[in-house]
């Protein structure tokens, strides 16, 4: 490990490392704007920049497959869903006066704590591991797939079961809400007729 560290000075300024740092800074900035802006839709669009920046970071770490999946799932679907929800409910142009939460200090504490935990884990796990950019890419689809289906099958399957359960749960919840609405409508109807009759009298 010390040998590796001696070969690569900490943050030796190769082009890729400089690009990685700059993109990281831009991503961090976009993330800050996302949580501080008072305009709801702008926050969602800054989230696009943040998630896209993360995808670029994955690319720079040679994890091409992960990067495109990041764009496909997060930028292409999650943010579209988010914007859809915003537009369907309320998305005024300009500032929303109530777009601020009283919990922001608690949220900040949680964010800093989770960031510290993640950084700690990553630093502890990789320390002075360097990616060899000149050799075969270490994050190709083939490598990712092999490690996923050889070393991480159990977590993968557990996650898929969890997602399936969430899917079934969502269907059950939406059907229950529908049934409730139907019974409520039935309960309301006779009263409505009575009121109409009274009104007619």
């Amino acid at each position: 490990m010390t040998l590796a560290a001696a070969q690569h000075g900490f943050l030796s300024p190769t082009g890729v490392e400089i690009a990685f740092l700059l993109v990281g800074l831009a991503t961090f900035g976009a993330a800050l704007v996302t949580v501080t802006t008072r305009q709801l839709v702008h926050a969602a669009l800054w989230l696009v920049v943040t998630l896209g920046g993360l995808a670029v970071e994955y690319l720079l770490l040679t994890a091409e497959f992960i990067a495109w999946v990041q764009v496909l799932i997060y930028v292409g679907s999650v943010v579209v869903l988010l914007l859809f929800g915003l537009m369907l409910t309320r998305a005024p142009i300009g500032r929303s006066p109530d777009a601020d939460s009283g919990n922001r200090w608690a949220a900040l504490a949680v964010a800093v704590a989770s960031a510290a935990a993640l950084v700690w884990v990553v630093v502890d796990a990789f320390r002075t591991t360097w990616i060899d950019l000149d050799g075969a890419a270490a994050g190709t689809t083939k490598v990712t797939g092999e490690s996923l289906f050889q070393n991480w099958v159990l977590p993968f399957e557990a996650l898929s079961v969890l997602l399936l359960a969430a899917l079934v749960g969502a269907i059950v919840l939406s059907r229950k809400a529908k049934a409730d609405a139907a019974t409520a409508a039935q309960a309301r109807e006779p009263r409505g007729e009575q009121a109409a009759e009274e009104g007619a009298r």
């Binding site: 497959f65 496909l72 930028v75 292409g76």
Partner: protein, 322 residues
Amino acid sequence: MNDAVDVALRLLIVFAVFLTFPLIVGQTEHKVMAHMQGRLGPMYAGGFHGWAQLVADGVKFAQKEDVVPAGADRRIFQLAPAVALLPYLLVLLAVPIGPGEGAVGQVLDAGIFFVLAVMGVGVLGSLMAGWASANKFSLLGGLRTAAQLLAYELPMLLAAASVAMAAGTVSLTGILDAFHWWWLPWQIVGAIVFFVAGLAELQRPPFDMPVADSEIIFGAYTEYTGLRFALFLLAEYAGIIVLCGLTTVLFLGGWHGPWGADGLGWVWTLLKAAVLAFVVIWLRVTYPRLREDQLQKLSWTLLVPLSLAQIALTGIVKVVIS
């Protein structure tokens, strides 16, 4: 050849294709639609059968005033056309038109994921335009766009996944290398699902509910004028090129052909894509617009099950032959 020159040349060619092919498809649409409806279409611009009509249209668009509504969110309103158009330019980079590494803008290890991911980003442009216009019709158009994307992204991905399973790779060049003619009947259901879902994602008729001009006045693009509106139109036609190119590469064997695949492979690719583009235009003239609920129903109750069945079939055949 020098690396930098090579990269520059590739980018230049892709950019030239990006600028000219959509115009060719647009002009073909003018003429084909006209003749299918018993008209002549443009006849005067440029002299010979109105070949320069779209050039004239472009000049007209460039001369128009660029209006931003007073109530609009200025910056997002102005940014939206670029967000809608650029993804298609990026996708074109990854579509191989001939055998070998010389006939593709950039060989990507996870090509399928790249093209599908970046195509999905283009829809953000319509969403941004719909919201930032501060117009109820535009907002409705944006909402419909989002609903349509969410419904049709899934069958499109599943159909593409079926081809990736068949080829054992997610690289577009790798899929073409693995292609055999009998993949065509094997993957035909997936091909149809992919093409239909792609049409819906591009909001082409009969899936043009988000831009329904007779109902919500071109949806998200209601407030756009001049060049920015032209950019949205260009995005639509570039989308047709990309969709036809991708369907060709994934399902129709790209540069494979009965003969001449070595030297003239790119001709096969272009020919197949051109036939598909003609089908896109044909469908527009043939079918009336689907209603919003019919749109959602088609995707969730027909295309998704079909694509799942295709994946099951692909898996069974793959296990049997290996």
